[in-house]
Assembly symmetry: C2
Homo-oligomer: 349 residues x 2
């Protein structure tokens, strides 16, 4: 038995309680300052308000200000915060973690730099560790992980990536169950890049659904040629971005494709894409979705900036990324949803 | 205006009449010996029995034995036959085609050799051309192309691949419409390999749907973590097979992914996978589907043979292909559908 402390009581942090707890571990679920009501509800009922079943018995609940009691003795700390919370995790949580407890980050994203680099969240957290002289082992997870499906026990393979194979093996031993399978990778940049792009591209793919509803009628049967074509275009662009990041491998592609697939099939990014495709403006979509999804879409704006800078240096070509640039223009300039089909097919391979 | 002759009046051959005809060309639709009734019906009604709308006005219909009247004067001959018909196309049709008329093949598949090579259908047709001294230009198409969606005008990007760029450009000019977009590639082996594998892998992915119906109940909500994970595994294996064939590029992957996506989303291979996942035996599935789908699945058996031979030479590792080997074992040995999850996650990347 190990002690797994999960920071963040949102959907993904709370869902990870299930494999962690069902594997025989004690789980400490710690809310962020935004999770106050959720933690109170979990404590009172033994169940997350949005989940259909109780947490495993040996689960314990902590408010953000009780974190200092949750960390000591942990064998693993999982960062289950959203992109919004990454700065809080870096500045407030990381300094509390002793060197011997490894961290596993569930948050997916990239940040751009003024000179056209794409930093992973692990890069950014590592900078903080270096500045405070911490030797905590930083690791990240990728792969398909719809939270309520994880709660239901649907099979998934998560990729745990990090720099230390012995740490990765230890985390796999702690977390792996008969439905939550864990694959290990030493390529942190490759895995994090592959999965960070999913929200931007899933939005682009889901546009086809809304565009077809507008074209063929709101109740028309779903059509997949267009959706599949844009999915393929997404993989083409993701491959080029992985290459720019130094890591296009079958394994990274595999994890990126699976994470993208699941994001296209269900969830709020898909819904945002459908609404935009139906003809709603980005402001109307933001209003309809209460702004909750769209923080994940900032990745499109960041990557578009990097592509332009890299293109100015001759390292990438803007015309190789018509889908990403289209999604950026929708988000940044309110461009209409219609897809640039000629740009998908215009170039020789 | 050009004259486009399509050999094969099945679903895909007949669907391609629409972009060809709507682009202002005359189209000659020629049945195989199995298409006799369909051609008669088309001739009588101006419509394919399974399509919801009429063919373009300048479409003409030919029975197989009338082929000699259809070929002369054609600017392009499209092979729209199924895998079943490829030998007939090679032995009966190819010798009739004059050197100056290019051929564009819609049939997808690979054939294995005793020494562990995977030949594309273009390779096989080229052998025939060489043996009869013909200089016909052979080309192939890949990409998402559900026939009734093509008839409806849903957007798609087709990849036309061949060895002669001027021929490819001519075919694109003839076929491209505002919904049927054409991308060109000189990598015939890469494109044909990427799309040939789709039926084998789509079956493996669709297993998750049936397995979940068995596990969570026949009317349970669809869950995508498992489906996405197997989709990712498929892309990993396809990448390795493309590498074996000498052509893993972002473009080939893109076309392979899009063709796989569409095959997972709809059609008879998907249905076969679901039925197997529900617990039906391969013989029961064959009976239920009247054997019609399963010819496309022979690709799994062929590729599995090649992997074993290549592994014996140290060129591939059988354990890198757990999904393909599982599909082969279902088809060849009647193995149950349960997926080998540990094999998907057991190896280091």
């Amino acid at each position: 038995m190990a002690i797994v402390t999960i920071i963040g009581a949102g959907m993904i942090g709370s869902a990870l309680v299930f494999p962690a707890g069902e594997n025989g571990n004690q789980v400490r679920l710690v809310g962020t300052p935004f999770d106050r009501e959720t933690v109170s509800a979990c404590r009172a009922t033994g169940r997350h308000p949005k989940f259909p079943r109780d947490f495993p018995a040996d689960t314990h609940y902590y408010q953000a200000e009780e974190m200092d009691a949750a960390i000591p003795g942990s064998d693993l700390i999982i960062g289950g915060i959203s992109s919004f919370g990454i700065d809080w995790f870096r500045d407030v949580v990381l300094p509390k973690i002793p060197d011997e407890i490894p961290v596993l980050l569930a948050t997916k994203g990239l940040q751009d730099t003024p000179d056209g680099k794409l930093l992973t969240y692990l890069d950014i957290l590592q900078q903080k560790l270096n500045s405070i002289g911490s030797r905590v082992s930083l690791n990240a997870m990728g792969g398909p992980c719809i939270s309520h499906e994880l709660v239901a026990g649907d099979h998934t393979v998560a990729a745990f990536c990090g720099k230390d194979l012995s740490v990765l093996r230890k985390m796999k031993a702690i977390m792996e169950t008969d439905y939550y399978h864990v694959l290990l990778s030493l390529d942190t940049v490759g895995i994090e890049t592959a999965v960070a792009l999913k929200n931007a591209y899933a939005l682009g793919i889901a546009l086809t659904i809304g565009l077809n509803q507008r074209r063929f009628g709101p109740d028309s049967e779903p059509r997949f040629n267009s959706q599949a074509t844009v999915f393929g275009q997404a993989i083409r662009e993701i491959s080029l971005l992985l290459d720019y990041q130094g890591g296009v491998t079958p394994e990274n592609l595999s994890i990126g494709v699976s994470d993208l697939f699941v994001t296209v099939c269900a969830g709020r990014t898909r819904l945002a894409g459908i609404l935009l495709g139906q003809g709603k403006t980005i402001d109307e979509v933001k209003k309809e979705l209460n702004g909750l999804t769209l923080e994940s879409l900032i990745i499109a704006v960041r990557v578009a900036r990097v592509i332009r800078i890299a293109a100015s240096k001759g390292l990438l070509r803007v015309e190789d990324f018509p889908l990403l640039m289209h999604v950026d223009a929708i988000l940044s300039e309110g461009k209409p949803a219609e897809l640039p089909w000629e740009e998908f097919s215009g170039q020789m391979m």
